[in-house]
Each structure stands twice: as structure tokens, then as C-alpha cells.
């Protein structure tokens, strides 16, 4: 038996053991089944909620909020990061503000935004925007600054003008950083949206589901929603960003420069 199979077997055994342990505790009646539903119950709830479409609607709402916020963050962050790297004036003005705002957890703005914009999409999207923008700005800024000056000179020597220098050299050169920034930003958006939905959303959204389920002791729904949240996060992190990276910077042999 080689090392790999042994690792897989050990991993499988440990997952099965933990699941079995949970099941035993859940069935022992030591805790109320409302607080600790059995695994089959959770699975049934998950399947039922997907089948009747409610879970899909919740996920759709959450994804809509995260996507709008995330796309806005890129639309704001990438140009701002590039401007900061290209124009010292912009950098001098924005950098102190960003360093002051960055350490504020996005969640601490939820109550304020609720006051200003009420409960619902606006607040959650703005929280996502706030959570995601800084990663995009910061990574774009360092990426453009890290573009190898040799490439600029080489392109200049080959007759590239300002505009083409920008599109053909600076943007591709900074792209490993920009992609890393987007990946980080998405991770943060995903965390922020779940948090924001818990208190600043009504009726729909995965964050709202788990928080609402607490009120009615619907632990099975809560755990089912947790599984959906984990699965969506995993799909985006691994499949979407993984394949973007494979198609671009990895193919060009550029190492992932800024790791988050």
C-alpha cells in the first residue's frame, strides 16, 4: 500500500468516525433533537429545501448580492489601484484614507448602514462592496508597481506608445496580483454577505436563513444552509478562480506573486 492510499484511507476513516460520533451523540437523546438533529434529518431537510426551491432562492439572493457588490468593487478598485500606482497625487491622497479604513471590520458598519439605507439589498451590497474593495485596490496598486521595468523599456524600444504600453504590458504584467486581489476580495465578500444578511436582510438569503432558523430552533435547516454556504464558497474558490488562474498566469509561467 503506497503513502497516498494510506492517507486517503486514514482521511476517510477519520471523517466517518467523526460523523458516527456525532450521530451517536445526536441519537443518545442527551441533547434535544431540535438542537442536534441526526445526519439523515439534515440530509432530508437539505434535499427537501432544494427540491421545493426555497434553498435555491435563498442562494440566488445571496449570490445576487455578493455578485453586485463584488463587481462594483472591481469596477471601483481596479481603476483606483492603477491610478494610485501611476499618479503620485492620487496615491498620496488615497493611501492614508485606505490605511485608516482597512482595519475597520466591515461588520461594524452594518448597524450604521442599516440606519442609513434600511434593511435589504442596498445595505448588504454596500457591506460587500466595502469588504471587497480594499483587497482589489491594494493588490492592483502593488501589481502595477511591481511590473518589471525591463518589460516597459523593451516595449518602449519596440515602439509601444503610452496607451499600448498600458494595455499590452502593464495590465498583463500586473495580472497575477490583480487576480490574487480578486480572489481575496471574493473570499471577503462571501464572509461579509453571510454576516450582513444575518441582521440586515429580511425573508431571503442564506445568512438570513441560518439566523432565522435559530429563532425557531430549526437546527436542521441551519446546518443544511451551512452546507450550501460551504459548497458555494468552495466552488468559487477552487473551480472559478482556480481555472481563471490556470488559464492566465499559470499558463504564462508567472508565479503567484502575492499570496493572501
Amino acid at each position: 500500500m503506497d503513502d497516498r492510499t494510506r492517507s486517503l484511507i486514514r482521511g476517510g476513516v477519520s471523517i466517518v468516525c467523526v460523523a458516527a460520533l456525532y450521530e451517536i451523540v445526536a441519537r443518545s437523546g442527551h441533547f434535544s433533537p431540535a438542537l442536534m438533529p441526526t445526519l439523515p434529518t439534515i440530509a432530508r431537510t437539505l434535499i427537501a429545501s432544494i427540491a421545493d426551491g426555497t434553498m435555491i432562492w435563498h442562494a440566488a439572493f445571496t449570490l445576487y448580492r455578493v455578485m453586485v457588490g463584488f463587481v462594483l468593487a472591481i469596477a471601483v478598485g481596479v481603476p483606483l489601484g492603477i491610478a494610485m500606482a501611476r499618479f503620485p497625487r492620487v496615491e498620496n491622497f488615497c493611501l492614508p484614507l485606505i490605511s485608516a479604513l482597512m482595519p475597520i471590520p466591515s461588520f461594524s458598519l452594518v448597524p450604521l448602514f442599516m440606519l442609513w439605507f434600511g434593511i435589504g439589498n442596498t445595505t448588504t451590497i454596500l457591506i460587500v462592496l466595502y469588504a471587497a474593495t480594499f483587497s482589489v485596490v491594494f493588490n492592483t496598486w502593488s501589481g502595477v508597481r511591481a511590473v518589471n521595468p525591463l518589460w516597459l523599456r523593451a516595449a518602449g524600444a519596440m515602439g509601444a506608445d503610452e496607451r499600448r504600453l498600458f494595455w499590452k504590458v502593464i495590465i498583463p504584467g500586473a495580472s497575477p496580483f490583480i487576480i490574487t486581489g480578486m480572489r481575496q476580495a471574493f473570499l471577503r465578500s462571501w464572509i461579509a454577505v453571510v454576516g450582513a444578511e444575518m441582521i440586515a436582510a429580511s425573508d431571503w438569503g442564506l445568512g438570513w436563513v441560518i439566523f432565522d432558523a435559530k429563532e425557531f430552533l430549526n437546527t436542521d435547516i441551519m446546518l443544511a444552509a451551512l452546507i450550501v454556504i460551504g459548497a458555494i464558497g468552495y466552488v468559487f474558490e477552487r473551480l472559478v478562480f482556480g481555472s481563471i488562474e490556470r488559464a492566465t498566469v499559470q499558463r504564462w509561467g508567472m508565479v503567484r506573486a502575492a499570496k493572501g
Binding site: 477519520s14 438542537l35 491622497f93 492614508p96 440606519l115 442609513w116 444575518m198 441551519m222
Partner: protein
């Protein structure tokens, strides 16, 4: 004589002007934003209660501090942070190092952690509240649970990244397993472990503010800003946010910067 003095004096003056300019350059953006805020507040675009001018916020900040209320909130939050993060640091480093050292521990723990870790930490909050009730216990446990993951991952990577040649040199000099661990593996993995602790603390801070809003704790900055919403008390809310920002900045700039400067930076292991 006077010429010489002028020559000596000039660089000093330049240095002085330089620092003054940096200070101005760093404050200028804030002045602009503050001015904009004031204008919007005084134009009355939004109700004054929702968008108070800065002097209202400052006055409220001072009165909250003078009465000791703000301090009480802050101290409770910091204590919770220390308790939760302390748990994460101790268990996280222990688990991560064990995973790095023992193939068996790695095989057993990695799949479990890979399942649990990618879910946003706050999503576990309702579950913790259900299982452990309201108040301090679920808050601290959740903060510890969530912030342990970056610590585990980085300690694990760090131990695996310890250079083979260090191990060989130490073995050639007669180091036994115990001393190999304490004198070579731990310091060798320290840059990663510190990165993990730093990420963990940032994580703990974010989660704590959120969980204080949900866990109905009697005191704490998260609760302060959340509670203030009910009374449309934007001044108090802004005061709380300012403290949160300052504390976050201080944790990053002072605590870990100092530890890193003293260890891995001095050793040239990170730039």
C-alpha cells in the same frame, strides 16, 4: 563661521521640512473628507440624527469617555478577544505543528479541517448560540474556533517548510529529537507561525465585533454600535466605530510588528 553654521544648519532644516511635509500629506486627505462630511451634514441632506456633524460625534465621544462607558465597552471587548484568540493560538499552534510533524496526524485532521474551514466563520454563530446559549461563552468559543484555522494552516505549512539542511546540520551536530524540535523546527517555522497568529488575530477581531452584536452580551463595542441603532444614536455608534478602527490598527501595527521585528526580521528570515 556663519557660513559653516549655515552649511551645518541646512540639512537639519531640510529634514524638519520633510517630516512636516509627510505629516501634512497624511492629514490632508482626512481634512478633505472631514470638510465634505461637515458640508453634507450642515446642508441637511439627511436628518441630523442620522448624519451628525463631526462636532456632535466628538462631543459624544468625549462624554462617553468621561463617564467611563466607552472604556467599559472597550475593556470587555479586549478581554473577550484575548480569551478567544488565546485559545486559538494555543490549540492552533499545537494542532498545526502536530500535523506538520506527524504524517498520521496530518492524514486524520486535514480532511476534517478542509471541510469545516471554508465556511465563513460567522455562519457558525447561530449554531454556537443555540448550543452554548447567549453571552460570553459562545462568543469566546466562536472567536477561538474561527481564528484557529489560519493559525493551524500556517503552523502546519511552516513546520513542513523547515529546511532539510537545518535538520541535517543539527543532526550532524548530535541533536536528539526533542532538541531538534525545540531548537530547530520551532524557530525555523516561526515566520509562518507568526503570520498565522497575525491572520488569526485579524480574523478574531472581525468575528468578535460581529458576534457581540448577535450574542446579547451586556457590554462590548459590537453591542454598543448595534444597540445604538435602536435609539438612532448615530453619535455613539460613530464613537464605537472610531475605537474599533483604532484598536484594529494598534493590534496590527504594534503588537505583531514588535514581535516580528524582535524575531524573524532580526534573523533576516523575512524582509
Amino acid at each position: 563661521m556663519s557660513d559653516a553654521a549655515a552649511v551645518v544648519g541646512r540639512p537639519d532644516a531640510r529634514v524638519g521640512r520633510q517630516t512636516w511635509r509627510t505629516a501634512w500629506r497624511n492629514t490632508f486627505p482626512f481634512l478633505v473628507v472631514a470638510a465634505l462630511w461637515e458640508i453634507v451634514a450642515w446642508l441637511g441632506v439627511f436628518p441630523r440624527q442620522l448624519f451628525p456633524p463631526i462636532e456632535d460625534i466628538a462631543a459624544r465621544f468625549v462624554s462617553l469617555t468621561a463617564s467611563g462607558i466607552l472604556e467599559h465597552h472597550t475593556v470587555d471587548t479586549v478581554l473577550r478577544l484575548l480569551a478567544g484568540f488565546g485559545l486559538a493560538a494555543v490549540f492552533g499552534v499545537a494542532i498545526g505543528v502536530a500535523m506538520g510533524r506527524s504524517r498520521r496526524a496530518e492524514d486524520i485532521l486535514l480532511p476534517l479541517i478542509s471541510i469545516v474551514a471554508p465556511i465563513p466563520g460567522l455562519a457558525y454563530a447561530p449554531l454556537f448560540l443555540l448550543w452554548f446559549g447567549l453571552g460570553n461563552l459562545p462568543s469566546i468559543l466562536l472567536v477561538g474556533f474561527v481564528s484557529a484555522f489560519p493559525v493551524i494552516f500556517n503552523s502546519w505549512t511552516g513546520v513542513k517548510a523547515v529546511k532539510e539542511i537545518w535538520l541535517r546540520s543539527a543532526q550532524a551536530m548530535g541533536a536528539d529529537d526533542r532538541r531538534l524540535f525545540r531548537q530547530v523546527i520551532l524557530p525555523g517555522a516561526l515566520p509562518y507561525i507568526l503570520t498565522g497568529l497575525r491572520l488569526g488575530l485579524a480574523q478574531a477581531w472581525r468575528i468578535l465585533i460581529a458576534v457581540e452584536m448577535l450574542a446579547a452580551v451586556p457590554w462590548g463595542l459590537g453591542w454598543l454600535i448595534f444597540g445604538a441603532r435602536k435609539f438612532l444614536d448615530t453619535d455613539a455608534m460613530m464613537s464605537g466605530i472610531v475605537i474599533i478602527a483604532l484598536l484594529g490598527l494598534a493590534l496590527e501595527k504594534f503588537v505583531f510588528k514588535k514581535i516580528e521585528d524582535y524575531t524573524v526580521v532580526r534573523w533576516g528570515m523575512v524582509k
